[in-house]
Symmetry: C2
Subunit: 199 residues, 2 copies
DNA sequence: CGATAACTTGAACGATCACTCAAATATTAT
DNA sequence: ATAATATTTGAGTGATCGTTCAAGTTATCG
């Protein structure tokens, strides 16, 4: 038998990411992973070395996907501020059965592992920073295009933007009434649009 | 020997709350609890029934303390909006070594237990709601005192206020640069003060 | 000073944890 | 077909999980 195909590995990683995201690092057992990966313990260890490593690979996957999704949205956006505001509204618009209707996996990881698993926490912090840098870059694009005032503090706006996302996603996680979530997202989105200056 | 004094029980509960808050429910073991409570397993079970029950008692303690702290601050505040804004700034002003410089225990609990321990999650949700109701009441006081526009949506403002707190505390948890945290809290506090209308 | 009650102790419980490895099975190369 | 190689299998590892309880200790009271 040859090496497992990319498809198999990719499918397994996707499944691992989903359980980990749902249950968190500590609450996910090898039994859980055996079930969703449809692999026996030996195969899991042959393919992914350890539970911790599998978690780190899941984080990578999550991070790549999140960043790509944001960049794609920004590439298509008619203006930077519009793209940013839409990104916020997008979370509230998720269909009710969407498995992503919950807290960000990076956020969850940091809450779960900061005081217990420093290695995981460190990598996760780095990922969150890189995402925030992408937000900063988006605000800088808005500035370059004259949409945003020249003296705006893009790093500060990016931090607040990231905070807005956390807040919306936490409400998704809680299962708050969709109307209330839409209202919250709308509040945040308008804050972004209120930054727009006439050109 | 008589029943344990209130003092002893209180000290033990405080210690339990702190470990649970630091490590989270799943990552805290009986060993950890034995160490910080300075009690042997038998005593812990005689006094608190189970790990889950001890966690619930810790949550109660945390909730009571949080709500009381907020109410005290509001009672002393010269105006409702001032009190609310100060509450936000207060988090950024915490001394660097303060053990409370981290994510809210209720938030952490929900992230940690929503998909694994429904009983804990349900009680925690109720507590978060009651705190949000206190925020709503504060905004309503602002309205009654003419500080806030009569058509303001107090429940909506309360949800946004709670989101602001979560965001600040998550940054505390990350160990973000104090200056950046102050800036973030200042942004949120000014949003609250911007709601003030002339009377 | 005993007797009784209250509380603590820590060894031990079965269950589950993350993880290993020799044996079995499947694939490819010859 | 056969040999060589790659991968899967699942029972089993020691450690640790939350929990129990009979025995021991300490306080209170007559």
């Amino acid at each position: 038998m040859s090496r497992p195909t990319q498809y198999q590995r990719d499918t397994a990683l996707e499944a691992a990411m989903q359980v980990f995201w749902q249950k968190g690092y500590h609450a996910t057992s090898l039994k859980d992973l055996e079930a969703v990966l449809e692999m026996k313990p030996g195969s899991i260890y042959a393919a992914f070395s350890s539970k911790e490593n599998l978690y780190l690979l899941s984080l990578d996957r999550y991070f790549d996907r999140s960043l790509t999704r944001f960049q794609d949205l920004m590439d298509k956006a008619p203006s930077a501020l519009t793209g940013l505001a839409d990104h916020l509204r997008g979370f509230a618009k998720m269909p009710p059965q969407d498995h992503a209707r919950q807290v960000c996996m990076l956020t969850k990881t940091l809450v779960d592992t900061t005081n217990t698993d420093p290695e995981i926490a460190a990598r996760t912090k780095a990922y969150l920073e890189r995402i925030r840098e992408a937000f900063t870059a988006a605000f800088e694009r808005a500035k370059a295009e004259g949409e945003l005032a020249p003296d705006a503090d893009c790093a500060r706006l990016a931090r607040r933007f990231q905070a807005s996302i956390s807040a919306i996603r936490f409400e998704l996680h809680l299962g708050t009434d969709p109307e209330d979530i839409t209202a919250l997202a709308e509040d945040f989105a308008r804050e972004i649009e209120a930054l727009r200056q006439d050109t």
